[in-house]
């Protein structure tokens, strides 16, 4: 199965709160899991990524948690800010190295209220 299932479809969080977006996959051949952030009218841009040999990666206010046995990974945005309002896509790399293709989740639209 080459799908990556992302939830929720939309999310509203108060400023200073924690935003959590979840993704699940079936194919154990996936071996690289990036998150992309997209602002209105722009293309997606890489936010943070993780490989399955670690359970957590943190970059500033953004953390990926990875559960290999459950085949799930999530993005946590701490101290969410209005500037974080965007669409977030999880993805998984199918295939190895440079020949692999990214499979994207359905996207989550995050709104952070001031």
């Amino acid at each position: 199965q080459q799908q990556v299932k992302q939830s929720p479809q939309s999310l509203i969080v108060q400023k200073g709160g924690i935003s959590i977006i979840n993704c699940a996959y079936e194919n154990t051949a996936f071996d690289y899991f990036p998150w992309y952030q997209q602002f209105p009218g722009k293309g997606p841009a890489l936010l943070i990524a993780i490989r399955p040999d670690v359970s957590e990666k943190k970059e500033g206010r953004f953390t990926i948690s990875f559960n290999k046995s459950a085949k799930q990974f999530s993005l946590h945005i701490m101290d969410s800010q209005p500037g974080d309002s965007a669409t977030y896509f999880c993805a998984a790399l199918l295939g190895s190295g440079n020949t692999g293709k990214l499979i994207f989740g359905q996207g989550t639209t995050l709104q952070v209220k001031p």
């Binding site: 293309g43 997606p44 440079n98």
Partner: protein
């Protein structure tokens, strides 16, 4: 630093018309991709290229064609446009060292 540039940004087509979406990158990346984005559906891979002269189908290639005559350019052609091709199209190139995709700003296409 231009990165990935797509033209046009907006286009309205009539059913049955044809057009080409242009994509060029100045980062000397070998790998290039075309995705379409539809609400609630994420990004679906249409075609990709691993270098000049080499292209291959992605998840949703029907109704599209590509060519890759140079490293810089990767145009996407729509033949006989259909309403189902109304979408936002993104071109991307990949840094082979990091695996990071760099996206253009998108081309919004409406077929009426």
């Amino acid at each position: 630093n231009a990165g990935v540039t797509q033209t046009p940004k907006f286009r309205i087509l009539k059913i049955g018309q044809s057009m080409t979406l242009q994509c060029t990158q100045d980062m000397n990346h070998n790998y290039m991709y075309w995705y379409r984005q539809d609400p609630g559906m994420g990004l679906k891979l249409i075609y990709y290229s691993v270098g000049a002269g080499i292209t291959d189908k992605g998840e949703v290639p029907n109704g599209y064609n590509v060519s890759r005559s140079t490293t810089e350019d990767f145009p996407l052609r729509l033949e006989l446009a259909a309403p189902s091709q109304t979408s936002v199209y993104f071109c991307a190139s990949k840094d082979s060292n990091t695996g990071e995709l760099f996206f253009g700003e998108g081309s919004r296409l409406t077929v009426l």
